[in-house]
């Protein structure tokens, strides 16, 4: 399924960009994954030092192997689910609207959209050492739509994105006012 059909793009609509969270914000998850992968090795060292009989037991050994296998597969699945949740947090910007997809968990997704001409104000913030070094932060958008406030978390180049949103919004407002003028005639 293409992105156009997912957001039900109109005939005149062009996708300007897709914004995801900055890759640096995913690094803590990789660190946590490495710690989780190391735990069975630490447990093996403890068991071989204190309960070495379990490792040569004809029933204990296969049970330990099965337990370790289930553990590692669960860690892989957890990491994949976390990655999908991270990667599916995306803002799709078109020349007509913004579609914000938030994958909250595996079975929970929020899709919100706002027309660009309804954007009233946009502000951007970058705070923290790593955010400043890698240039990522939040963009807060005030709208006149059903969702009065949109926040885009940890996106790259937030100041540039803010300017782009305001420019696109101005263009869309101009387009809509011209359409209204044409319809009145």
């Amino acid at each position: 399924m293409g992105i156009d059909s997912f957001i039900h793009a109109k005939s005149y609509e062009k996708i300007i960009c897709r914004l995801r969270r900055h890759w640096f914000t995913f690094l803590p998850a990789i660190g946590f994954l490495i710690v989780l992968l190391a735990i069975p090795f630490a447990l093996y060292w403890m068991i071989s030092a204190n309960f070495s009989g379990w490792l040569i037991s004809p029933t204990g050994y296969p049970l330990l192997i099965l337990f370790a296998s289930i553990y590692y597969l669960s860690v892989i699945l957890y990491f994949f689910t976390y990655f999908v949740t991270f990667y599916l947090d995306v803002l799709i910007m078109t020349n007509d609207r913004m579609v914000d997809i938030d994958q909250n968990s595996l079975f929970s997704r929020t899709v919100a959209e706002v027309d660009l001409y309804q954007v009233q104000d946009a502000s951007s913030e970058v705070s923290g050492v790593f955010a400043t070094l890698f240039n990522y932060g939040n963009v807060i958008i005030q709208t006149a739509g059903a969702l009065p406030k949109f926040t885009l978390h940890n996106i790259p180049k937030p100041h540039d994105i803010r300017e782009m949103i305001l420019d696109l919004s101005a263009e869309d407002k101009k387009y809509h006012s011209e359409q209204v003028r044409v319809e009145k005639k």
Binding site: M1, F6, P62, L63, I65, L66, T81, Y87, L106
Partner: protein, 90 residues
């Protein structure tokens, strides 16, 4: 004393593998459904599939010589015999 054959745990393991595969497919389906199947996500998925296959191969390698017909004691009253015995309190 309650004993079960060791292959019971293998059956539980296979049931877990089915659930694992199902959730893996659900994750993949999410990527496909939201048009998020890019090079990055595809590469990560392939990497994790490879890691899962390595784990499964390692499991098979370490368990290939196991006699699955042997019994495992899951409950034995003798484990609690000393706690319940009043003669030991004297």
């Amino acid at each position: 004393m309650i004993t079960i054959p060791l292959y019971s745990f293998l059956i539980i393991f296979f049931i877990y593998l089915v659930i694992f595969g199902l959730f893996f497919l659900i994750n993949f389906g999410h990527l496909f459904q939201t048009a998020a199947l890019t090079f990055t996500s595809f590469f990560v998925a392939i990497l994790l599939i490879a890691a899962s296959l390595v784990v499964l191969w390692g499991t098979w390698y370490f368990l290939s010589d196991v006699n699955w017909q042997q019994s495992v004691t899951v409950f034995d009253t003798a484990w609690f015999g000393n706690i319940l015995s009043f003669t030991n309190l004297q």
